[in-house]
């Protein structure tokens, strides 16, 4: 089944202690859509400027991402630049130039409005709400978010939470949102804000799902080397939603399996700058790593 993904489409300049890469393809919708594309057809909604490199449009196309919803408008593409510290866990933003993203109005092509699965990747909650307003009876809607929106758009975010089935956020964001240090209790508090499904991402320590059927502890694939973690969270949730949309079986077991594939897909993302590694990964490589991860958790 097809999935709708709305989020940011950007150019990222990423600096790590070992290298510097300017103007890579980035943005939450880019990562999530490429990651989802390994599992199901993707309809993507985003905005780029007329400076957006053709090679990145080609990259979307190579992954059979439907681009009817990608607005190309006069002006500059959203540009983010950031720098990672030595341990690759902490990063700081060097510059943010919103460009055409500043006036982004996500309009859904008619053919997108009945997508059964919807991923509201990380953008302002007001835009996520605006997308939901255009949907006709989606089956399963998941929103991703970030600390920025907790700080400057909490009211919109709380309105959004009442209308989504699932929320994905990382552990520090879960703590910030609930004022609760314990992740398990934080997830329970988030359920009370709306979402029946709460997924707390813990980076290299995996993720935890809290659902009506209980708790699922999803491991991360243990990498020997992290080149660039940018977009790993977006890739995780993109692959997860893609896998869920494409899967069969009971919903809970599909969701758990989807999280495993999300985890594996995110691990590839970390192995290259921006989308460079993820964009070249094969279905076989994903399957092999998923099998490895299962072996690493079996006894």
């Amino acid at each position: 089944m097809s999935i709708l993904i709305v989020g940011s489409t950007a150019l990222d300049s990423i600096k790590t202690p070992k290298a510097e890469n300017p103007r890579l393809l980035g943005g939450s919708a880019s990562y999530a859509s490429v990651a989802a594309s390994f599992f199901t057809p993707v309809n993507m909604v985003g905005v780029v400027g007329d400076d957006f490199p053709k090679k990145y449009v080609e990259l979307y196309r190579r992954h059979q991402i439907d681009l009817e919803g990608l607005q190309i408008v006069p002006g500059k593409t959203f540009h983010w630049s950031g720098e990672y510290e030595v341990n690759m866990n902490n990063r700081r933003t060097l510059a943010t130039e919103l460009g055409v993203f500043e006036t982004f109005n996500p309009v859904l092509p008619k053919s997108y409005q009945r997508s059964p699965y919807v991923l509201l990747a990380n953008i302002a909650p007001a835009l996520q709400l605006h997308v939901l307003d255009q949907m006709k009876k989606p089956r399963f809607v998941v929103a991703d978010t970030m600390d920025l929106w907790l700080n400057i758009a909490l009211k919109d975010l709380l309105r959004l939470l009442k209308r989504v089935d699932g929320l994905v956020l990382n552990d520090s964001e879960a703590r910030q949102l609930t004022q609760e240090d314990n992740v398990v209790v934080a997830a329970q508090k988030i359920h009370k804000l709306g979402p029946a499904y709460v997924i707390v991402k813990k980076g290299e320590h995996g993720a935890i799902l809290s659902s009506p059927k209980g708790t699922f502890i999803c491991p991360a694939y243990p990498l020997k080397k992290v080149v660039d973690p940018t977009g790993a969270g977006d890739s995780f949730v993109g692959a997860m939603m893609g896998c869920l949309a494409g899967g069969t079986g009971s919903f809970e077991s599909r969701l758990r399996q989807a999280m495993i594939f999300g985890s594996v897909t995110a691990s590839f993302c970390c192995e290259g700058f921006g989308l460079t590694r993820l964009a070249t990964v094969t279905d076989k490589e994903i399957d092999r790593r998923a099998k490895e991860l299962v072996a690493m958790t079996s006894w």
Copy 2:
């Protein structure tokens, strides 16, 4: 099969943001032995002073811990006091009074010398080596350690590592020992120092085993409330070794299962001050929580 556990036996005064508990039973051997006792007969070696409360000797006895190796000598029992910060992850030592522990010479009763499974719980590596010198052909020897020994007794520790089958340490210690940030690579470097089995503990994020058969990702049981994490690591490795000694099947699958039970047993430890919760837990409660943990990792 029986297991030999050597380590510290102490009185701990523990302060958390919510409470203060003086002179609780503590020490690596105490935690590890009580944890192991749920799975197999334990022979314990340690030293206490003549101030050691009889109720704690009774506690050992209630867990069928053989005390032929527990030296009771004139003087004061090792006393540690520490304080936890609000998030319960960071603690600082307020005072350490070594007492009779200062001159501890672990002498193994003859009946202990042929124990097939040996846990060298956290004490000075020189003492761990001295215990090994007295053993007759042990089948599987695991050492635990801590940052203190990396700082002040690295040479002894490196000698020890050449003679043990397994090393258990936490993630920050693994980084310190290997000067390597990545846990997977750090484990590989530790193999080169001797141990074929390396277990890196990650607290609330579980533990990772690196063995000749591959990697095993062991989840932690997600607790809603941590009362006091003191001794959780000792309980983990104690229960793991006890379960391993008592288990059947291939070594690798027994070890993985043993880690799961170690994880579950450690979770009970965190639910009370010192050993108070662990000392009252039942086999049924451990089994139930192990089944829950398995359900939380299945899909």
